[in-house]
Structure formats: C-alpha cells, structure tokens
C-alpha cells in the first residue's frame, strides 16, 4: 500500500516536472530516465542474478551508436524503430559475449574486456565510427512526427521527455514482471546458492545467459535514449569508467531493491551536477560517498529508507 502511494506520487511528479520545473532541470531528467532503463537491466544481473558487470557500457555504446548510425547513415529517424534495432544489435553482441562470460563470476566475469575491445574499435575505426570525435545523432522522430517546428530545448523538455518517461515506465513494468516470474525466481536461486540451484535442476549458465542478453537489451535502449539530448555519440560511452559509473549508481541506490537503481540514477545525476558546479574534483567526493556506502550502508539509499518488518520465527 505504501509502495503504491509512493509510486503514484512519483508518477505524478514525473508527469508534472516539465510543466513546473526550469528547463535546465527538466533536461537533467533525460539522462536520469535513460540511465534508469540501463540500471533496470543491469540490476537483473547484479541484484537478481548476483553477477557484477564492469563492462556494461559496451551495450550503452552499442545502443547509442545504433541510433547514430541509423539516423545519419540510413535515414531511419523513427525512435520506435531505433529502440528495437538497438535492442537487437545489443542482443546479437551479447549472445556470444555472454556465452563466454557467464561461466565465470566475480572479477572473472569478463565483460570489462569486451567493453574495452569495443571502445578501441570505436576509437580506431575512424571511417566507420568517427573515432574520438564520434558521430552525430540526428534528432529522432517521435510517434511519427518530426517535431520540425520545435527548438531543440522545447523538443527535449516536451515530447522527448514524455517519450523517455513512457519508455522508462514500460521498461519498469516489464522488469517488474520479469523479476516476479518463474524465470526471475530461478535467477534469485542462482544468486543465493548456485550449487543448490543446480541440484534443483536450474541450469545456471543458461539462465545467466538469458539474463545477460535481457540486461544488454535494456542497456542499449538506455544508450539510444542517452544519445539524443547530446546529439553526439563518442567512444567514452563504452569506456570502462562509464561502466564504473553505472555500477556506482546501482550501489548508491541499493541493488537489493527493485527501485534502488532508479533512485541511484536520480541521485547520481543531480548530485554530480551540483557537486561539479561547486567543486572541480567531484570524483573525490563521489569516491568518499562510495566508501561510505560500502562500509556503512551496503543496502544503498533504499536500504537506509526501507524499514524491515521483523519476522517472527516460531521456535520449537
């Protein structure tokens, strides 16, 4: 009940923000919503399957570059086509990468290596990718409309904001369903106890692989959404520090909560903006925050907010 009330209030606030908030803050919400989609997928791996991917920016990059290539090279401007194409491209890459990675855990879960391979590809294959300058991401059409008469800011804080919100809501509802499905339960058993899961017939590599591909598709959607506000994509989207940032967001919000990563994305974006405006060494502050979370609040912000009801255990 309390969750429903909070979600209703948050939904109303998200709908009202473009109407009441200054344009600057509305545009800050765009990366929040893009990262929100990314983190929903990342947390399927991290929070629900127990795999930490330090190379997930690979799939953000694939999503962003898919959008850039489609809009600039192929004239495909419809966001409704770009997003599925980004998901497909990410899934095609994730299938072999995941097949190689999912048998290993902890630091051996080698997505970082593949992320860096892709980063190097983007950097070095200049003619294809634009090298370190990247590629332009032309303004995508939304719901069949070019929104030609709208300035960039008006487009971003109007139709693009609500389109991103719709994608975030849809992604959230789908992920909500996934983690509460028989499939989601199998992922949790893998996270909790791999040996026991296998003894119950849960094929650990197979389920991890499924989760990895879904997670990659989510990251690609987020990447495509992320590219539009800046209008440009570059290799840093796939760089390992970007992967570190999204893992940080998950930790900040709390990976053991469904909504924790979304809260983490929100706080990260606005905290980064605030800290950067007053202190040039913002990474120092964020490092201290990360240390605080790891030591004092392993459940992240959601862990601090959530009040766990004590469970009565009958004793014989």
């Amino acid at each position: 009940m309390r969750t429903a009330v909070v979600l209703s209030l948050v939904s109303l606030a998200l709908l009202a923000i473009p109407l009441v908030a200054p344009a600057y803050y509305v545009t800050l919400m765009l990366p929040f919503m893009a990262y929100g989609v990314v983190l929903l997928g990342l947390n399927l791996l991290f929070g629900y399957t127990g795999l930490v991917s330090f190379g997930h920016a690979l799939f953000i990059g694939i999503g962003a570059y898919t959008g850039a290539v489609l809009t600039t090279r192929f004239g495909v401007r419809q966001m409704e086509l770009i997003l599925p194409a980004a998901m497909l491209a990410a899934a095609v890459v994730a299938a072999p990468v995941g097949a190689l990675c999912v048998r290993y855990v902890k630091i051996y879960f080698g997505t970082l290596a593949f992320g860096m391979v892709f980063y190097t590809f983007l950097l070095k294959f200049y003619k294809l990718t634009g090298g370190d300058e990247g590629m332009r991401m032309l303004r995508p059409w939304l719901l069949g409309s070019e929104w030609a008469g709208w300035s960039k800011t008006a487009y971003l804080i109007g139709p693009y904001y609500y389109f991103s919100l719709a994608v975030l809501v849809l992604a959230t509802l789908l992920m909500w369903r996934i983690v509460r499905s028989p499939f989601g339960l199998c992922l949790k058993t893998i996270r909790e106890n791999q040996l026991k899961a296998e003894s119950l017939g849960v094929s650990v590599p197979l389920y991890r692989w499924y989760a990895f591909i879904i997670s990659a598709a989510y990251a690609a959607v987020g990447g495509a959404l992320l590219a539009t506000p800046t209008g440009n994509v570059d290799p840093t989207l796939a760089y390992w520090t970007h992967s570190g940032n999204i893992v940080f967001m998950v930790l900040l919000g709390g990976f053991s909560s469904f909504f924790g990563p979304l809260l983490g994305a929100f706080v990260f974006i606005f905290l980064q903006d605030t800290v950067m405006s007053i202190f040039p060494y913002w990474r120092l502050i964020f490092g201290a925050i990360l240390a605080f979370i790891v030591i004092f609040a392993p459940g992240g912000l959601m862990g601090l907010f959530a009040r766990r009801r004590p469970v009565e255990v009958p004793r014989g």
């Binding site: 499905s181 028989p182 199998c186 949790k188 296998e198 003894s199 849960v202 879904i214 009958p314």
Partner: protein
Amino acid sequence: MILEARDVRKLYGPYVALDGVSLSIREGEFVSVIGPNGAGKSTLINVLTGLLAPSAGTVRFKDRDIGGIGMVALTRLGMARSFQLVQIFPELTVLESLQAAVVSRLGGGARIFASLAGDHRIQKDALEIATLFNLADKAHVLARELPQGDKKLLDVASAFALRPEIILLDEPTSGVSTADKHAIMEILVGAAKRIGLRAIIQVEHDMDIVFGYSDRIIALHQGKVLADAAPAQIEADAQVMDMVVGRRHPSSAPQPPGAPHPALSPEGRGNADPSPPPGERAG
C-alpha cells in the same frame, strides 16, 4: 533395478577415493551408506548424482549411463539429492525455495513474463510439500531465519519438491540436535511415501538412524565396499562392525532376509502422516 554402479573408481590425483565400487538399488529400498571419514561416502554420492564423473566404471540410472552428466540433467531424469552441509537460499522464503523446485520440475523456468504468484499449480505444489514437511506455518519466513532443524528440513523438502523417483541424501540429519533427528527422519519417510518415491539412498553417521530406517546397508572402507547386506547381517558381522561402526550397535532388531522394506513399503515403519509428535522438534 533403478540405479546401478559397476566397478566405479574415482581418483583425485594419486589418491584413490573409490576403488571398484559396485552396487545396485532396487525398487522400494532405503539404502544407507556408512563408513569412517575418508571412506569415500560423499564421493560416491557425488558420482551417483552426476556431480563428479567417475574415473572408471559406469553408473546407470533407469538403464541409462549417467556418469558425469551433471545434476541438472539427472534432475530431469528423476533423481534428486541433498547435501551434507545445509544448502538453502538464505534470502528466499520457505515457499519461494520450494516454488523454485516446482518451477524446475514443471520446466517453466524460461517463462519470462509469466506471473509466479498467479500460477496456481506452482503455488499448490509448493504448499503441499511445505505441509508434508511441517513448514507450512513458516511458508513466508526467510530461509536464513529458520532454526537449524528447519533449515535441514527445507533443504531436503526442496529436493522432494522435484518429486523425483530416487533421492540421495548426504547426511540428512547432520548438524541437527539428537532430539530433532528422528523427527526429521519420520517426516522424510512419510513424505517419501506420499510422493511415491521409488528409493532412498542416504549417507549417515548416526547408527541409530542407519539401523533404524534402512533396508540395506552398504559399508565402505578405504574406497571399497566392505559389506552390502541387511542391517541384521551387518550387525552380526564383527569385522564390519569393528572397522566401520567402531562398536556393536545394540538397537537393531534382527530381520529375516527378504523382509518388507520398512521405510518405503506401505505397511512399514512410520505413519503416512509425517507430522512428528508435538514438541519433538527443537528450535
């Protein structure tokens, strides 16, 4: 013959853990594997359940070679197991833990968008097993918050939730208080009858449990089968008792060869109602 091992050897480098072990498990049997530490009991269970591939020899289940095929494949063939150390899903509730086994049995794990809560068959089957194992009142308790005896029960119950044909239990009462041991065994035997289990193999150190519940005892010593006989015959064999049990066990009543299997036969020991007497289970 449900399960058969022939001349199984298992080597860990130069160390011979199993040395030409042969055994067969028949319909309706409750077989205990005993032996001192290092005799190869857990290795045998791990080889029989596909967790380890034998270095030589064959293991056949339902006339199919299952050597090293892995636990997941064996589960689908109808074999389940529990472990010596309690294996649970600490942050899942009792019901979720059992649901996971039911999902696996029904082959529905890949249903990505299906509602777990809305699947009545999964809910019903999981609750039925929880009831069989006296865990229904703790269905929504996290596994890590259960008392040790209930954790052990949950571990075994989740294997039963697979509704296997044969189950291999590695010390099903280890780490459990003496007061809880017989209660767990009574529940286990009652549940086995209820779900129509065809055979049980257990590794056990507690000789009260071994002699009290087994149709047949296989004694291992230094990786070899020292004896394979009914409890009464084992008890009458001074050499086996000295080498494997370390003492003469007083509690076992002699049984004639070919007597009905007490654990799994309908007329045997244990009530169909798996509930232990009130107060028998300590927290």
